[in-house]
Point group: C2
Chain length 249, copies 2
């Protein structure tokens, strides 16, 4: 009898063209589906909780797929998948779940972390893993701007179009945590769901506000008159600094 | 009048064939010398405090070179060099020093850090930056083995030949700090000087002792009857996990 597996995956986004399968490009989903097929001998879709863009990293993306049976223990699935996957993608955990579980639809929220390096020189070890904003950022301004987004809002003004229109753009941002350790500034967004490029657009807006290129009023305006901007992506922080940290169920 | 500059450099060892210039291979020293030459219009040797092997990283390698004059401020040197260097090499700091300063001969010691991932699966973000020893390591055993090396010893039994013979193989290991945070085990060696591959051979020996492949007596034996082993490198921990953390003056 088919059995559903939930897996937790970590990947370095720099190596892949994002999560989702595409006609062109090497994606994390493609790699996982190929590995599952090689193990099972049959095709089985691997459904992720969220579609991360090219360059965006995951500490703990979640996904599910259906195995033909329960012959393999979860530990064996981890070993078998990792043996076939490139080292930039690792299955960290696996567990059998009821057939009613769906990585995307069962998720109650996600946590994304954005890393910003504010020192004058970007250390080589932060390359591709942080946005280099070589400016002393006023932590008070960053925090004030960030907190304007907390709560339930229509975030249409902070999302990019992905082609088709999403009906409901109201989301609840449960919390935004701002932390600074040395030159590293971290923003952590805990939300019941993210619109396309939302975490990056919020980050872009917060940083632009902190350096005075935008005002708190601009944020208030865009939150109260939500219009999805065609040139939104222009205002998005780069993909490098973004990490999917957790999917909540 | 020529002026001597001391620079602090960080680099990702995975990208280069080590620090030192070689007939073949792209080295950190080559890159720095090329950048200095392009700025000064003349060749000037860049002398490092230590020659890190291919794959070994540096958070803060030190080096010096002679500029033709003091026309550029240290801050300008940092910008100019970083503009020419690949992002995997960054000049973090620069300062003019007296002509008597020598990056290697003036150093009173160095600190190397070795990172070991003991979890079952190596997260993609540790790739090339930690040694994956997928075993629960007994912290007590690791610490006991590590502390056998502390103090003044003839470390010939924990060094590889680099072709020519070093006369004096006695060194003082001022401290070894062992730390574990989650699955990451860190060994930090503070020594007045390191022999060739010494940090990696000490690490290899400590870990082999911790997992029972070697005994404390083996270590005591090799310390009291120091013979430089021809097959030493075989026992060295991989380069990936090693970081030059600090050079002391």
């Amino acid at each position: 009898m088919p059995a559903r597996l939930k897996i937790v995956i970590s990947y370095d986004g720099a190596t892949f063209a994002g999560w989702q399968s595409q006609p062109q490009g090497d994606t994390v989903q493609d790699r996982l589906e190929a590995a599952v097929q090689q193990i099972c001998g049959m095709r089985s879709g691997v459904h992720g909780a969220g579609r991360t863009d090219a360059g965006v990293h995951a500490l703990a993306q979640c996904a599910h797929f259906d195995a033909p049976d329960r012959r393999f223990s979860p530990a064996r699935w981890i070993s078998a998948l990792n043996a076939l996957l490139p080292p930039q993608i690792r299955v960290m955990r696996a567990v059998y779940v009821p057939k009613t579980f769906h990585a995307r639809f069962s998720a109650s929220g996600k946590v994304y972390r954005y890393r910003i390096w504010t020192g004058r020189v970007l250390p080589p070890f932060e390359l591709g893993r942080a946005w280099h904003v070589a400016t002393e950022l006023d932590l008070g301004r960053v925090t004030s701007a960030a907190h304007m987004f907390a709560g339930r809002h229509d975030f249409a003004g902070f999302a990019a179009n992905r082609g088709r229109r999403v009906e409901n753009t109201v989301r609840t941002l449960r919390s935004i945590r701002v932390r600074r350790v040395g030159s590293l500034l971290t923003l952590e967004f805990d939300c019941d769901g993210f619109l396309y490029k939302m975490a990056r657009m919020l980050t872009g807006s917060i940083i632009r506000t902190a350096i005075g290129k935008e005002s708190m009023r601009d944020i208030r305006e865009r939150l109260s008159h939500p219009v999805r901007s065609a040139n939104g992506p222009r205002f998005a922080a780069p993909a490098d600094g973004l990490f999917l940290v957790r999917v909540k169920y």
